[in-house]
């Protein structure tokens, strides 16, 4: 951020008599910087940091928000101990991991392929790109709710299309009901919504590769296949990794779309940790316990993201 040129304001200020200098400078830059930044920092402290500290405090108690008059006891690390030794928590973590891994794999494969195709620069590619990205900007709750209609057993559009394409009778399976399809149904909706996100970032990566690199490779008689693996993939990789970071964080926090689609069911088949957390906090009202749960989730996502960002920076440096 250092400016290599001598600062003209400083020079002008020093050269002018005091009253003019005061008019010239007004408030000092330092004062302005603080006045400009302070409201934002204050708001973040009030809406993000203060609640976080409060959550940490609550996590060591047995507080229940629906019984504010009950005496609050300090329970030390007992909440943490109970969460980490609870088999249900680990099962939910696995459900979340399954959702996370498959959505990322599908979105990366489909998103990259689409970007690669769009980069052929066929006529009208801009228009199609704009249409493709629409789903990702829409309200996940409203869209998730509507997908329950598309997924309706027996009469839903999806069941109908499956019967039309594969011949499997529409009444023989239920996308959101028992039968093990529900975890895949939420993966399909998330992939439908967020593939364009990965696609857009990959497209930016592909467009950042200068033509002369391919021209040089062509002169060296490198095959198209070899060009793809030695030029295209490595140069898009930092972009792709960034897309994965965003999707990873977002899907770890996933709540709205899945809540409306399955609410965690059938049974606990799609009970992601965020939905479980909501049940503990706002249905069972175990505020202390769920605070500890929230802290564990936050530390997990923060830790994983930090490690990942380090890896990302290494790839970028290459």
């Amino acid at each position: 951020m250092t400016n290599p040129l001598p600062n003209p304001i400083e020079a002008a200020a020093r050269a002018t008599p005091a009253p003019v200098a005061r008019r010239l400078r007004g408030l000092s830059d330092r004062a302005i910087a603080w006045i400009f930044v302070a409201p934002t920092i204050f708001l973040l402290l009030a809406i993000n940091i203060f609640p976080l500290i409060w959550t940490v405090r609550l996590s060591f108690t047995n507080f229940a928000a629906n019984r504010p008059n009950r005496e609050v006891e300090w329970v030390g690390l007992r909440n943490y101990e109970r969460i980490l030794t609870d088999e249900g928590t680990w099962a939910n973590m696995q459900t979340t991991a399954h959702f996370l891994v498959w959505t990322i794999v599908l979105q990366v494969v489909i998103g990259f392929t689409l970007a690669w195709l769009i980069n052929r620069k066929f006529k009208g590619n801009d228009l199609v790109t704009t249409l493709i990205v629409l789903p990702m900007m829409l309200s996940p709750a409203v869209v998730g709710n509507f997908w329950t209609f598309l997924y309706q057993p027996q009469i839903g559009l999806i069941n109908y299309i499956v019967e039309l394409v594969t011949g499997i009778p529409a009444s023989s399976f239920s996308m959101l009901g028992p039968g093990g399809l529900a975890p895949w149904s939420i993966i399909i909706v998330d992939t439908w919504m967020w593939t364009p996100f990965v696609m857009l970032i990959c497209l930016a990566g592909l467009r950042s590769i200068p033509d002369y690199i391919y021209e040089a490779a062509e002169v060296d008689r490198a095959s198209k296949w070899r060009q793809f693996w030695t030029i295209t993939v490595p140069m898009v990789l930092p972009f792709l990794m960034l897309a994965v970071l965003f999707r990873g964080i977002e899907n770890f926090k996933m709540f709205d779309m899945v809540t409306l689609l399955t609410g965690g069911g059938p049974g606990n088949e799609t009970l992601l940790t965020s939905i479980d957390l909501k049940r503990e906090a706002f249905e069972k009202w175990r505020t202390g316990y769920s605070s500890a749960y929230a802290i564990i989730l936050f530390v997990t996502v923060f830790g994983l993201a930090s490690i990942y960002v380090k890896a990302l920076n290494k790839v970028k440096e290459r």
Binding site: F36, V37, L44, I47, R120, V142, N145, F146, F149, L297
Partner: protein, 313 residues
């Protein structure tokens, strides 16, 4: 450029790529087309099997969305005066009468108030902070910027627990002001990061010239930087608005009767024996359409917005 370029794809590969991408676009837009068309179906048409692609358009869904209706006894129904308005007529066809307006209008208005309120606040605070981060040596700048970003990593439910308690103490639960402040707190990180990127691109020389001409820092900011950053500010505002518009988790946990927005409301539209799908689809259409239009307007800055300014075209 030479007439023949080795990097230019062949005609055949362009055609193939075009066909594949258009096919994908067709599949991916099908659910959206289905939402819009279901809004114009009658109740029986919406749940017929096989699904109806061609149907008699009906405004029943939209009428149901904005009204509550009751069924009255047959002799009373026969004694009614002829329907006064077209929407009375639509409801009478189902053997019912309009009992009053539904809460959809209110909820939609709440979405508008909270969306615009929080966007305005995010942009005002965000522009000031972004300018300071862009132009001045703020102590611990990188840490502060990272801190601002990291607030986005918290699961919304984790923040909702203490906010719920805090708002209960302060009397902010289920109020517009409470939701505006909350969404501003969430959006401010996006606003600061995006706007800093846009302001970084404005040459410093403009302001420095203004300063030498006798402007104060603040005047230079207002009269030189702000007009230059107008496009960036506008697109950042749209991103903030879309976030606040779409948000569900906080809305469903912290609002109920008074300040509830549309996303938690739409899924609760119930008809006879389950959800009234044409009405749900009509509500969804009205709610999603503005975002679709904004997305098309924003297409040039889309990438930047969704990656917090990390990727610029």
């Amino acid at each position: 450029m030479s007439a023949y370029s080795v990097t230019e794809p062949s005609r055949a590969s362009k055609w193939l790529a075009g066909i594949l991408v258009v096919a994908y676009a067709f599949i991916t837009l099908l659910p959206l087309v289905w939402i819009i068309s279901t809004g114009f179906k009658s109740g029986p048409d919406s749940i017929s099997y096989p699904p109806k692609v061609i149907f008699d358009p009906s405004l029943e869904g939209y009428v149901n969305l904005f009204t509550t209706r009751t069924r009255i006894a047959a002799e009373d129904f026969a004694a009614l005066p002829p329907p006064e308005t077209w929407y009375d007529e639509v409801v009478r066809e189902d053997g019912m009468v309009i009992a009053g307006p539904s809460r959809f209008g209110e909820r939609f208005l709440n979405s508008v108030i909270i969306g615009f309120g929080s966007t305005f606040l995010s942009i005002v605070l965000g522009t000031l902070a972004a300018y300071a981060f862009s132009r001045f040596k703020v102590p611990l700048k990188d840490d502060l910027l990272f801190f601002i970003l990291s607030t986005r990593m918290m699961p919304p439910i984790a923040v909702a627990i203490p906010i719920y308690l805090m708002y209960r103490e302060l009397g902010l639960s289920d109020t517009h002001l409470g939701m505006i402040l909350l969404y501003t707190g969430v959006n401010i990180s996006l606003a600061v990061w995006l706007l800093k990127g846009f302001i970084d691109e404005i040459p410093r020389e403009y302001e420095e010239a203004a300063l030498i001409d006798g402007y104060t820092r603040f005047q230079a900011f207002r009269k030189v930087v702000l007009p230059q950053a107008a496009t960036g500010i506008a697109s950042t505002a749209i991103f903030c608005l879309i976030f606040a518009w779409n948000e569900y988790a906080f809305a469903v946990l912290l609002t109920s009767g008074n300040a509830q927005t549309a996303p938690p409301f739409i899924p609760t539209i119930i008809g006879v024996g389950g959800q009234d799908w044409p009405a749900v689809a009509a509500g969804a259409t009205l709610f999603l359409l503005p975002v679709m239009i904004f997305t098309i307007l924003l297409r040039k800055h889309l990438l930047r917005g969704i990656t917090f300014g990390a990727v610029r075209k």
